[in-house]
Symmetry: C2
Subunit: 143 residues, 2 copies
DNA sequence: GCTTGACCTCAAGTCGACTTGAAGTGGCAC
DNA sequence: GTGCCACTTCAAGTCGACTTGAGGTCAAGC
């Protein structure tokens, strides 16, 4: 398959051209050349974008992700790092589970004030003792 | 119990004084007066801070949370909103579970390149089709 | 050959939740 | 009465991941 121009990559991957340029600047992506001014990318850039998306979904920063690619472009997997991140995710999942249950409870709880409900108070204590800042929600960039 | 000065509230709640001032500016908190320049807060501000922390942990923005307090300071629960947030959390939890399993797998997978591992490729596709941006991790404010 | 329009660069802006810094003030100990 | 110091205000800075805007360029179609 021939190289793809940036618009084509954007179309196929769903990643905006501005983001592709940004990623290239960050070293996450490499263009293979130009047609005129226009960047060209090797077809495997699509796989690379999927990897980046995967890393983001797992909670890695772009800088983290950049380090996971060897200079030759192959994956350089740091197993302990992955395990650590998995454990972090696990903790987050448990916390979010508590929050979800708490919300569902609050939505149906008949106590006159939530502050009088034992279940709610328990959740409140859990939140108060939670790290520093709660879990971040996904940005929904609202195109 | 007497009113607490801002330093005392910070000490008891673990929330920095700068944040307390910031929250007051946002309307999330109300001070009851001053001793000299120094803000005083009613003791129940601690419960309020726990509620704010709970809301943050559940993924609400500060503005969302501000709307959950009636002008008189009591909780004003919007049940459909809570249910919607619970469902959103549920989706996030499921996605994070997939990511966690993927990470654990990647950490032990013996395939020469992860790209050749069927499990990894399946996860990759899942990530590629995920919304727009993956789940946000919690900020660890790093003193 | 000239227009057109989509790309280009680079700097600056955005968003949310705070933090930081400079300059000011007031209660309390001496 | 006076010095200290922790508080005060307000504006600006930070962080991460992008987006947006102004001004420039080039391949292609007419």
């Amino acid at each position: 398959m021939r190289d793809l121009d940036i618009t084509e990559v954007a179309r196929r991957s769903g990643v905006p051209a501005s983001t592709l340029r940004f990623y290239e600047g960050k070293g996450l992506l490499a263009s293979t050349g130009r047609r005129g001014l226009r960047r060209l990318f090797a077809p495997d850039v699509l796989e690379r974008l999927a990897l980046i998306s995967l890393g983001r979904a797992a909670g890695f920063s772009l800088d983290d992700i950049a380090h996971m690619f060897a200079p030759d472009g192959r994956l350089r997997i740091d197993r302990p790092l992955l395990v650590a991140k998995a454990e972090e995710l696990d903790r987050t999942i448990r916390e979010l589970g508590i929050m979800r249950d708490g919300l569902r409870h609050a939505a149906v709880c008949p106590a006159p004030s939530h502050l009088e409900c034992p279940t709610f108070r328990r959740i409140l204590r859990a939140a108060a003792s939670a790290p520093t800042t709660g879990a971040r929600r996904k940005r929904t960039p609202r195109r």
